[in-house]
């Protein structure tokens, strides 16, 4: 579906099908929620607003370790409301250790079953928050079938989206068609000329000059040697060479497409794509620092202390941390993991993630491409200054609700929205100091 192209439009193109999928989801969920809206029982709400709220909280707090329909770090939460009542669930979520220590048999069994992995306490989740999450889980459990349908729908949409990109193929077809037509016309014209020549040759009443024209042989050699032709050829040749050289020079040091082999075969496709783990979960610095941060190994261990413990790749993390799976103990011989840097900005350029992600509200994919589809991370954008500047010229400043920009918006008298370039986004010292 996606052809790699060297322009920043791809993400935009991409976002349309995604948007459609998302909208489809929303519609489906909304309609389903409406169907069950009246069925509220066992104190679990079916109000779509609460479910939506629960969804957000589930994704923020729970999804790292739990899924509804399958075991992740913790148990699958499908029908959890049937297994235990809401009060118990609330207590467990807020502080599972307390429940376990109280000697609750179910809790103790669960704890032992999951290798004595301590569930992070969520004391800040209030009773109604947990209720909302449970409402969401219930909604998910009961609508699993519908969701499957939705997934099918997704497939359909993807197909539809694929069709959406076909016009470029049409274009080629049209071009080829046109070319064929042109050649045909050329052939017809040639035919006419030869017929006419033949006819004229047979005519006797032609004067000298006309005869000469008719008798004239088409001299390919002559054309090739004519100064005009040579001039054109030399010009085209020089232009191509110069263009190639300039293009070549511009790509010196540009590592677009650079996808080095990493010491651990971490796949964004699985984590960000399949499991939809939020980028922030691992790249903790992205909203507060200039660096997005390559996650520290302890973040991996949040899940991988229990998941895929037998994998060769995961064992590399254990080796780095000197972690013993059997005893759950960390040893003293820890050795940092040396990842290969994919995105290398020169030292003279200052880039700050939080400015773009937190303040600017830019999606990771805008610069990093479809990272959720990359099994091996590659440098998606060319990261040249021209690329930065281009975006600063085109991008609207995310001014909504940010008091910092209020005065600037007020003073901005153009009809166009306030662009980054209008507030000094093209000035040298914004990035070079």
């Amino acid at each position: 579906m996606i052809k790699r192209k060297n322009n920043a439009l791809v993400p935009y193109l991409l976002s349309y099908p995604l948007l459609i999928i998302y909208l489809t989801f929303l519609t489906l969920f909304a309609s389903q929620a409406n169907v069950y809206a009246q069925e509220g029982d066992s104190g679990i709400s079916t109000d779509p607003a609460i479910i939506a709220q629960g969804k957000t909280m589930f994704e923020e707090n729970c999804r790292a370790c739990h899924a509804v329909d399958r075991k992740v770090v913790g148990p699958a939460l499908k029908e959890v409301y049937n297994r235990k009542d809401l009060a118990w669930i609330t207590a467990f979520v807020q502080n599972s250790q307390k429940v376990i220590e109280s000697g609750d048999q179910y809790a103790v069994d669960l704890y032992n079953e999951y290798n004595k992995t301590v569930m992070t306490p969520f004391p800040f989740l209030k009773d109604e928050d947990v209720a909302a999450i449970v409402a969401y889980i219930k909604d998910q459990t009961e609508n699993a079938a519908v969701a499957e349908v939705a997934e099918g729908g997704e497939g359909a949409e993807v197909a539809a989206a694929d069709e959406g990109s076909i016009p470029s193929n049409y274009l080629t077809a049209i071009l080829v068609g046109l070319l064929i037509v042109l050649i045909l016309i050329l052939a017809v014209l040639g035919l006419i000329i030869s017929v006419l020549t033949k006819y004229l040759r047979e005519k006797k009443d032609l004067d000298e000059i006309d005869r000469e024209v008719v008798e004239q042989k088409f001299g390919l050699e002559k054309v090739l040697k004519s100064p005009g032709f040579l001039g054109i050829v030399v010009f085209i040749f020089t232009a191509i060479v110069v263009k190639t050289i300039i293009d070549g020079l511009y790509t010196v040091g540009v590592q677009q497409g650079y996808a080095p082999t990493q010491p651990i075969a971490f796949s964004h496709e699985i984590h960000a794509g399949q499991y939809e783990i939020d980028c922030n979960y691992c790249h903790t610095g992205v909203t507060k620092s200039k660096n997005a941060n390559i996650p520290s190994a302890n973040i991996c261990m949040n899940c991988h202390s229990a998941i895929k413990t037998e994998s060769e790749e995961i064992k590399k993390i254990y080796a780095a941390l000197d972690y013993d799976v059997a005893t759950n103990q960390y040893g003293p011989n820890q050795k940092p993991i040396e990842w290969v840097r994919v995105h290398n900005l020169p030292d003279l350029a200052y880039f700050n993630h939080s400015q773009h992600v937190n303040v600017g509200g830019i999606e990771c994919q805008t610069c990093h491409g479809p990272i959720e589809e990359m099994a091996v991370v590659r440098q998606y954008s060319n990261l040249t200054m021209g690329w930065c500047i281009d975006c600063h010229r085109k991008t609207d400043v995310n001014t909504v609700g940010n008091e910092y920009y209020d005065k600037l918006v007020e003073l901005h008298d153009s009809k166009d929205a306030l662009k980054v370039k209008d507030i000094g986004g093209l000035e040298c010292s914004k990035c070079h100091y």
Binding site: N298, W339, D347, K407
Partner: protein, 1046 residues
Amino acid sequence: MKDNKKQYWKGLEELKNDPEFVKYADKEFPEYLPINNRSTEGDEAVGSSRRDFLKLMGFGVAAASLAACEAPIRKAIPYLNKPVDVDPGVANYYASAYVQGGDYCSVVVKTREGRPIKIEGNKLSKISQGGVSAQVEASVLSLYDDERLKHPYINGEKATWQDVDKEVIGKLNSVSGTGGKISIVSNTVLSPSTKAVVEEFKAKFSNVEHVIYDTYSALGIRKANEATFGKAIVPSYDFSKAQVIASFGADFLGTWISPIEFTKQYSKTRKISKGNAKMSRHYQFESNLSLTGANADYRSPTKPSQEGLAVAQLYNLIAAKAGVSGSAVKIDGVQHLEKAANDLWASRGKSLVVSGSNDSAVQAVVNGINQLLGNYGSTIDIDLPVNYRQGDDTQMNTFVESLKQGGVAAVIFLGSNPVYNHPKGGEIASALEKAKLKLSTASTMDETAALCDIVAPDHHYLESWNDASPRSGTYSLVQPVIRPLFDTRQAQESLLIWAGNNTEYYEYLRNYWNTNFYANQSSQIGFQSFWDKTLHDGIYEHKASVDTTDADDTVSSSDETVADISQAFAQIQKNYKADNTGIELALYQKVAIGDGSQANNPWLQEMPDPVTKATWDNYLTISQAMAAELGVAQKEGDTNLVNLTVGGQSYEVPVVIQPGQAKGTVGLALGYGRKNAGKVANEIGLDAYPFVTTLNGSISYNMSEGVTVEATGKSYQVARTQTHQTIMGRTILQEAYLPEYEKNPSAGRSFPKIATSTGKKSPYDVTLWKGHKYENHHWGLVVDLNSCTGCSACTISCQAENNVPVVGKEEVLNRREMHWIRIDRYYSSPEGASEYKDLEKAADNPEVTFQPMMCQHCNNAPCETVCPVAATTHSSEGLNQMTYNRCIGTRYCANNCPYKVRRFNWFKYHDNRQFADVNTSMNNNLGKMVLNPDVTVRSRGVMEKCSFCVQRIQAGKLEAKKEGRRPQDGEIDVACASSCPADALVFGDMNDPKSKISQMLKLDKTENGVKVGEERAYHVLEEISVKPNVSYLTKIRNKDVADKEA
């Protein structure tokens, strides 16, 4: 056009219009630019040969093929376990305290990825009040000194701590068993818990003595206070309450007792505005022109041999007014002394007399004067003693005698280096072998440690837990901001282990605070919260103890009866002479190098001395008259060596002719001539500690007898920056005397006019330029010339913040120093002096003005228009931007800069063996840890200059944007302004009407642009209409107009 008729000059070369000076003044860069062979001037090195050509070609080919290759693989190594508080790319700040001997400053340390990179002042401290000094700023580089000891030593061999402990405990036990004496020798210990540790050590071994000495003794004050008040203490002084200050040789703004604190206080009395045209008047009587003397309103050059008499005379004059009998000890002819007496008497109770003398007799008379003036209880608080100087010279002398006679069996040098910085260092060095155990906890192999059997290196203060009590009732915690870099151990912990107490010092400290301080306070509940609060704030004030001492006011604070000081007068009569004819030597400390303990810090070595503007050297300051007598000539960059004979020993020293040097005196700095400091400092300058003598029972830093100076005729180069970047006689300083200012707030201002076809106009009304529109921010800086003391803390702060390289003596001589902010020091002669003779006379004791000069961020910047590649451009926030990666090094901009603030990278100063020994912060992996990761390290061939700390501006703005608000005033501050102990620099957004800078300049937005309402504010070189964003406030001297004529 010149409203101010004074003549200003930066050095005698300029005053005399020395041909050598004129030659350089016209040129931005010196003619001779040795690059290939920097130190020799041989012909062979000049010009290129065939071989060079081949080399270059080879390089070219190699470079081209390298460029074609893929970029090298770069690694990214994340934490395994990320600490909760550390986010790569986000700076953390920790409160701590700088403690070096008795010097103290409460600081906030900026760390990035767990390594300290910058020291800021702690605004919560009531002592340093957010101010720092050059030495404090530079201390972060000392942490990354590659010559710090990396492990303990036994007999010069690498050892483990177990071996050291075994060896030390064994020896201590055997010494103690035979009743041998154990001496712990240290400088002043500010830390109460360290004192407790020493007590614990004393309790364990029977015969332990703690000997304390100071590298610059203040015993005289303590002895005098014991005589006067029965308390051997140094009182706290409050210069902020003093309307008249008289100082006899006390360099209280530079080096005396607590200069940061005093500068903060003093500068408060120098802030002046239209509504409040009041400022302190400052008299200084001294022999060397000190930083403090340079700031004085009236300065009288006085010989050291006259100092006691001058103090006595002041006493007599004031006693006469008070109706008390004076003494027979007197001196006539000390300039301004009577005037000072009148002024002091007129503001009694709000005046202050201090003396830098270490002679208790002089200090006793000073106490007498302050009592007569009723200054106790207002400007001096005898009940609130400070702890900065606890050294006892007598005790130290006894120790040295005892060591010489073999009476000391074991000696532990607790971070002290007496072999170098004590006058009897030589004797200690030779007597040391008599001790059975010689141990040093120094963190470098200094002069003393090199003679010890065991060296148990201590942490740097940025790696340590500690506490400090600068004055009674005020406490600070010192916390580590980085893991110990080497296998060192905190000295206190070592002492505890040797004393058989295996508590970690951190635990010990907490316990100590729990028992001693937590119990006495009520604001925090629970020790942990008390501890956390103190650690967060960096300071803890024990209010009760501060208050109660005031209450049990038993001493004669308010008592007007003066203690009997006839004894003191007798001693003064005996020890001082009004008419000493011999040459006198006055030793002093430099603002940057101090006592020499941080001498191996290249930032400090290259910091131009505020007064002499010399770097990388020690030299004899002599008066013009003496220079003429000796036949010593001083030309641009060149000076002579003289033979200085002290006590029969001769030394060759370069001279610097110093205007303002008292006639018949010479000055020499302490802190140089280190032998074991490290690559940077070793063998630089002459060590002056052996010249220190004893007078009246305590150490004296003046020699009145047995000093001769002879010319040698040899020439020598002292790297001085004073005539670099000269002003070519333009009006860039604007100043007035206070009475003039009272009459007219814009007194001293120059209002240049330029002729146009429609008559004379202000240059700002005639312009080719369209001007800039600043919609968002408009950054500006105000420099108050009246507050700036010239201390140069800003220079070092800027150097740390902006990765400014150190270039070394050779390159300073080539006029290529790199400091982004320089402090220009101007001498000025009085009005009307136009004859050469008059000027010459004026140079004997000139007025001094300090002017910090950095990029002025002109709105019509001349540099921007001449850059052929647009590497320097104007931003929409008023900054003049410098883009290194665009610069091709034509240097047109520097040529066109009227302020001469642009610096060119003549060399690659980083990763270059040529500069490895001077620019340590960019040439070894350890030193590089100090670099600010947000600022590019510039390479050879590019221009650089002050950026208004654009990285701080960007970071501050981003922080505000993240929180969805406008930045608050004060949140974004440049490094120089944030470190200024005098608050002379104020940075802010001139678009924000509420900002301090807008209010200081009284900015008024009209339709025709912004009007500056403040009468004292001016731009340097207004006549060329470059419209800088840096404004200066005129210097006001508190002098009578009558004194204006020479």
